[in-house]
């Protein structure tokens, strides 16, 4: 037995040594933690696809020039199996065994937070697209020494997105309704993201003169009829199906049958999906995407991105556009490395990221991070022409300058 242990130990040790010696020059190790299996797989796959596309483009265009050396990105993709324990094990492996300089991921707030506790103490940068991180990104946690000093939120602050979305929805729907909408019902899944997102959206609607009722449904609901009937009894002008997109795609057809409201807003439903599912309503319907739409985007840059993205074999699903929460930041990170001139000065890289701007795909104006490490960009809202499945009118709404009354920001 002891012999066996000794043999194991020696072989494992030499294995690590070999890996270390091989992995020195001109290779920039970047980790990706995403669900390639389990229930978050559709979101997870988009993160991986975005990472592959971005790193391939960077490497094909000659890599990153840092301090006179040319670095090529080597991706270390780890499946978190939609399990927080595996997420942590993967993050530990990437940070401690492989020694990546940055990690992209992951799908949910919980996983990202647990991961940030590891990346933070190891001074590894983390890019996560969870707007609910706003709840923990504050002056203290992002300060040098804080546990989120190396974490960046690649989705806009929720009050910004809520504000621009509410503005877009009301602007598009008002002319189509017999009287200006006054009463909104927000219908949202009662999970972490749903609770966080809806709290901001309700404030944003109220700030625009709406009387708002918030109805939360249990996360795994499939029969929405009782709750929808209840909403119908509230006589709303607009029903806002907020997070998440999959449940919305189930609930919305049921709502149409029950004739719940004179107009609807579907959050996170891409016009491409609306068309794919052949949804159709005589009542006006508005849509928005996270973060921009792959179907019916007015921006040629975005159209070009999704062409490349789908050409790589990624699937056209409700979550496809999530990839844009991850793609641009590879280029932004590369630019920051070039500016610092070293790949292992994480504090300077954080400073560089905070002080720079980058013109990405996701936004028509350059991307910047604010002091709380959060990015800002505009929101696209589309209106479906009543009675059709494939005719959309889109508007791009810039975020409001400040949080509405009653909203603490974050």
């Amino acid at each position: 037995m002891i012999k066996l242990i000794a043999v194991c130990a020696v072989s494992a040790f030499t294995g690590v040594m070999i890996q270390k010696s091989r992995a020195q020059d001109q290779e920039l190790k970047i980790g990706v933690v995403a669900a390639e299996s389990g229930s978050f797989v559709s979101a997870g796959n988009t993160i991986v696809a975005a990472a592959r596309l971005a790193s391939q483009q960077i490497n094909d265009s000659g890599g990153i020039n840092v301090g006179g050396k040319t670095y090529k990105i080597k991706l270390y993709i780890r499946d978190n199996r939609t399990d927080v324990n595996v997420t942590i094990a993967a993050a530990r492996e990437l940070v401690n065994d492989i020694g990546v300089t940055a990690i992209w991921g992951t799908e949910t707030h919980d996983f990202s937070v647990s991961m940030a506790k590891i990346t933070g103490s190891a001074k590894v940068l983390q890019f996560s697209g969870n707007s609910s991180l706003g709840a923990v990104l504050d002056d203290k946690s992002v300060a040098p020494g804080g546990w989120l000093h190396y974490t960046f939120q690649t989705e806009p602050q929720e009050w910004q997105r809520s504000g621009s979305t509410a503005e877009g929805v009301l602007t598009l729907l008002t002319p189509l309704l017999p009287h200006p909408p006054q009463h909104s019902v927000v219908f949202v899944g009662n999970d972490a993201t749903g609770q966080y997102l809806s709290s901001h959206y309700v404030k944003a609607l109220e700030a625009r003169g709406q009387k708002v009722d918030l109805v939360k449904y249990p996360p795994d609901t499939t029969d929405f009829s009782p709750l929808l009937t209840r909403i119908k009894g509230l006589n709303p002008d607009i029903v806002h199906f907020w997070y998440n997109g999959d449940s919305t795609l189930t609930a919305f057809p049921q709502a149409l049958k029950l004739d719940v409201a004179p107009s609807y807003f579907l959050f996170g439903v891409d016009p491409g999906i609306y068309q794919q599912r052949q949804l159709k309503s005589d009542k006006p319907v508005t849509l928005s995407c996270v973060p921009v739409c792959w179907g019916a985007s007015p921006s040629p840059v975005v159209q070009e991105y999704f062409k490349k993205y789908f050409d790589l074999g990624a699937s056209k699903g409700p979550q496809s556009s999530v990839s844009l929460l991850y793609y641009d930041y590879f280029f932004m990170y590369a630019k920051a490395l070039e500016k610092v001139g070293s790949i292992d000065k994480p504090d300077q890289i954080v400073d560089a990221l905070l002080s720079m701007s980058y013109q990405g795909v996701v936004s028509p104006v350059p991307l910047t991070f604010n002091v709380h490490h959060q990015v800002t960009f505009a929101t696209q809202v589309s209106l479906v022409k009543p009675g059709t499945s494939d005719q959309f009118v889109s508007t791009i709404q810039q975020p409001p300058p400040s949080p509405p009354p009653g909203d603490p920001g974050g």
């Binding site: 229930s39 009829s225 209840r230």
Partner: protein, 289 residues
């Protein structure tokens, strides 16, 4: 008032599916003492089979039959291949059924994927009766369930086989002495219960989408319904299903929506503690004394 009636109609259609699964559980549990935790997965498989057949262009109502036959066969295989060996030790049967439920769930994920499945509405019409929107498909589901309940009830309380079955449920040993082939009845009832689950799944996917995880949500309601009504008591399962459906529908309509699932859970726990033998009484369940 229209809203209230609409809630009643909603509740009834959901209660229908619960009753179908509860009836299967109550018969199987009552007769064979088998707690089949995979019964919910049988329903899910029925729904998935319907989805698969409908997606292949087959008419919905034929697909329903297909699903019933498939799940009935599944029940046959499960009873003959697995539960037959644990009739003496119900706890082992229960443990095995957990294993079976995990297998079925993940085999379905492996075959298709974990994304929820929907079929286009077999009948998309909506009747408006005095301001109440009645989705025709829901009305059909209620009607089919009512017919199935009536047939089951008639067979059990009137026919010769039904009486023999009732005797077997009440006292399997004596029934066996009287020459009733109890073992064959166990198989028969297992298949019938599975067919009901298959029908439940097929009707469910006609109303709303199902996922590979639907089974484990449904099974708890099914158990609760059969325990609330009293094991082995078909009428009890109907009453239990209506009660639970009503609580669900009305709590969604008038309670705090985010607590919707909690009301029925509390009701189940309360009834199980206060009346372990069920509201209408059935064969006594395993008592802790």
């Amino acid at each position: 008032m229209e809203i209230f009636f609409q809630q009643l109609v909603n509740s009834l259609s959901v209660a229908s599916v619960t009753i179908l699964i509860g009836m299967g559980i109550t018969l199987i549990f009552g007769l064979a003492g088998i707690v089949n935790f995979a019964h919910g997965e049988f329903l899910m498989v029925g729904g998935m089979a319907t989805w698969f057949l409908v997606s292949a262009g087959i008419n919905f109502f034929i697909a329903v039959l297909g699903a019933m036959i498939l799940v009935g066969f599944l029940g046959f295989v499960a009873e003959r291949g697995l539960f037959r060996f644990t009739l003496e030790r119900p706890m082992n049967g229960f443990i095995m059924s957990i294993g079976l439920s995990v297998i079925l769930q993940h085999v379905v994920i492996r075959l298709f994927n974990e994304v929820q499945k929907t079929i286009p509405d077999p009948i998309g019409q909506v009747w408006v009766v005095h301001g109440v929107d009645i989705i025709v498909m829901r009305a059909i589901v209620i009607a089919i369930t009512a017919i199935v309940v009536a047939i089951t009830y008639f067979c059990i309380s009137r026919s010769r086989y039904g009486l023999a079955l009732t005797a077997s449920i009440a006292d399997p040993d004596t029934a066996a002495l009287m020459g009733i082939p109890v073992r064959r009845y166990v198989t028969g009832v297992f298949i019938y219960g599975s067919v009901l689950a298959g029908l439940g799944g097929a009707l469910m996917i006609a109303l709303f989408p199902i996922t590979p995880f639907t089974g484990s949500v449904v099974i708890i309601r099914g158990f609760a319904v059969s325990l609330i009504g009293g094991l082995g008591n078909v009428g009890g399962a109907v009453v239990g299903g209506l009660l639970l459906g009503l609580v669900d529908g009305l709590s969604a309509g008038y309670g705090f929506p985010e607590w919707t699932d909690a009301y029925s859970l509390v009701l189940m726990i309360a009834i199980l503690i206060v009346r372990p033998q069920g509201l209408l009484g059935g064969t006594l369940g395993p008592k802790a004394s």
